[in-house]
């Protein structure tokens, strides 16, 4: 098994928030080799290195290895300058070339993708444009196109992450931040800061709002916040727990946990009518609701059998079925976008791994090997998941492919990073 380690520092954008940087801790056994030629800029100096961002995007999936610029024998600017032998020598399987122009304050990036082995063009010359502040978006857009062309799977490089950053040091006031960033950790932006805990962020299915739990009133309450405007609304303020909000696939309801009737139970709350419906009724702990992809069921964690395991309740009949049987504990389930797999925190022998269970066969696959891995969130293309783990004594985010072949870490420069929530596709 080939293991390699890659470090790089992302260019700091405007506001210097705590940036996450990617480290690939385990790549695919046989990654696809791609050469991303530096974009021709005709002397134009750009605030972002688009080709570098594309290379890192593709490597982030673990499925690609980018050929270092310093190894390249030529920097073709157009199709006429492409000599396949230059790339065959480097064992490149694919070659991406492009250029950036500026006209009237807008930036136009055009690009072409070549199959080196087949000696043919696989993406005709395409163009994308934006403002200077959108240069990273242009790069991510190109990465999405390249990834989808080669793998047949939609790329996730233009999606976003929301996560919680916690600063807890002896002798200082605790600080909690809800952060938004690109999926590679760049361009992080503050959504909410509080001295009280912030927990359980969850994107709305349209990608415009986030639901979360905030203790800012000295008690937990569920809030919804518009991401673009920052406008927020407190949705619940019941006695006891108000936690674990999970948006229904149609965006109309939240599943959540309330203990107002004595025990933690799963409820649904219609966001418009505010109608509350109780889904579970058991003296054990019922928590961590997540909707099935068709919206007919809610997966949840319960210790009704003694130890926490994952169950599913039918939203119409309220019938409850146990879903997980392997291991001492299984918690915090999330269903993959295709509805075929359940990703969860799986405990056996005292350590907490992430695991995926095939919902049809019941087969369980361990995805991660570190202790204390938690809070998995699945990419909208179903190919990767992000999770929280500990590294070097700090809470960090990491990602793993759903086939468990590749892993990357996104260490933070400051604070403990936790509870990632992967956005849906934005269009």
């Amino acid at each position: 098994m080939k293991r390699y380690l890659l470090f790089f520092v992302l260019m700091l954008s405007g506001m210097a928030q705590a940036q996450l940087t990617i480290q690939i801790s385990r790549g695919a056994d046989n990654p696809t080799r791609i050469a991303v030629v530096p974009m021709a800029t005709q002397g134009l100096v750009l605030s972002e290195d688009i080709s570098e961002i594309i290379s890192k995007d593709l490597e982030f999936t673990g499925q690609f290895a980018a050929i270092p610029r310093t190894d390249m024998l030529s920097f073709p600017r157009n199709e006429a300058e492409v000599h396949y032998r230059d790339w065959n020598v480097l064992k490149a399987e694919y070659l991406l070339i492009g250029s950036v122009e500026q006209r009237a304050g807008r930036y136009y990036a055009s690009y072409q993708l070549f199959d080196v082995l087949g000696q043919r063009k696989v993406l005709p010359k395409l163009s994308v444009d934006g403002t200077e502040a959108q240069l990273r978006d242009l790069a991510h857009h190109i990465s999405d196109k390249v990834y989808e062309t080669i793998t047949g799977i939609r790329g996730i490089f233009s999606t976003k992450l929301i996560y919680v950053e916690a600063f807890q040091q002896r002798g200082t006031t605790d600080k909690y931040r809800l952060m938004l960033s690109d999926v590679d950790g760049a361009r992080s932006r503050l959504l909410l800061e509080s001295r009280e805990p912030i927990m359980s962020p969850m994107w709305s299915p349209d990608g415009r709002r986030v639901a979360y739990v905030s203790f800012e009133s000295d008690r937990p309450a569920v809030y919804i916040q518009e991401i673009a405007t920052g406008k927020r609304e407190q949705l619940t303020n019941f006695k006891g727990l108000n936690g674990a909000p999970a948006w229904s696939p149609d965006g109309q309801r939240l599943a959540l946990v309330l203990s107002k009737d004595g025990n933690p139970e799963i409820y649904t709350l219609n966001i418009i009518t505010r109608q509350l419906s109780r889904m579970t009724n058991h003296f054990g702990i019922d928590t961590e609701p997540a909707w099935t992809t068709d919206g007919t069921g809610i997966i949840f964690t319960s210790n009704r059998g003694g130890k926490p395991q994952i169950y599913q309740v039918n939203v119409a009949t309220l019938q409850v079925e146990r879903v997980t049987f392997d291991g001492e504990q299984n918690t915090r389930g999330r269903v993959s976008p295709d509805g075929k797999s359940l990703v969860m925190v799986h405990q056996r022998g005292g350590t907490y791994h992430l695991a995926a269970q095939d919902l049809k066969t019941g087969n369980l696959r361990i995805l991660t090997e570190a202790d204390l891995d938690e809070s998995p969130t699945i990419a909208p293309n179903g190919a990767m998941l992000m999770y929280a783990t500990r590294f070097g004594g700090k809470g960090i985010l990491a990602a793993v492919s759903l086939d468990a072949r590749t892993r990357v870490r996104l260490p933070s420069k400051q604070g403990d990073v936790r509870e990632p929530a992967w956005s849906p596709f934005f269009n």
Binding site: Q168, P197, D218, A244, P264, T301, P308, E374, S375
Partner: protein, 158 residues
């Protein structure tokens, strides 16, 4: 002092048998009551009325059962709360193992166990507020058993 200790011990035994009696018939039961041993314990150390009391009660992993050794302390708190009637927050916490939302629920169970004990002792339920922070506010930040043991707690805040 001796009679007082004896009296407390007796009260305690009565409460315990009540708790255990409840558990066989109630569906609102949790593990706290089913696994609680019936302890015929006398409180050995006389309680100093004026000295500040320890305000943290500790728990075992994934348990919301009051440990026998914490009961003397809670009896002393109950006595003070009955006479003062002071509003008190019971803040439940968990160690970092297990998922965050599960730990929030577990922390609430622990704080509820303390609340129920105090209420059975005659403390007014309306003076007690339960809030759980789960694993969000650890006292010790290490990932080892001694840190975990310090973090599995309920804090009584007057």
């Amino acid at each position: 002092m001796i009679t007082k200790s004896l009296k407390q011990g007796l009260t305690f035994a009565v409460i315990m048998s009540f708790l255990v009696g409840c558990s066989s018939s109630s569906t609102q039961d949790d593990e706290a009551t089913t696994t609680a041993p019936v302890v015929e314990e006398t409180v050995n150390e006389p309680v100093e009325e004026q000295a500040p009391l320890e305000t943290i009660v500790y728990f075992d992993f994934d348990q919301a059962t009051l440990k026998p050794e914490t009961r003397a302390l809670l009896l002393a708190h109950a006595d003070r709360l009955k006479s003062s009637g002071a509003a008190t927050r019971l803040e439940g916490h968990a160690d970092e193992r297990g998922s965050r939302e599960y730990n929030i629920a577990l922390g609430e169970r622990r704080a509820n166990a303390v609340r129920d004990f105090l209420v059975l002792q005659g403390v007014s339920a309306s003076s007690l507020e339960v809030v759980s922070y789960g694993e969000e506010r650890p006292l010790a930040t290490g990932s080892d058993e001694s840190s975990y043991a310090q973090n599995r707690r309920v804090e009584l805040k007057y």
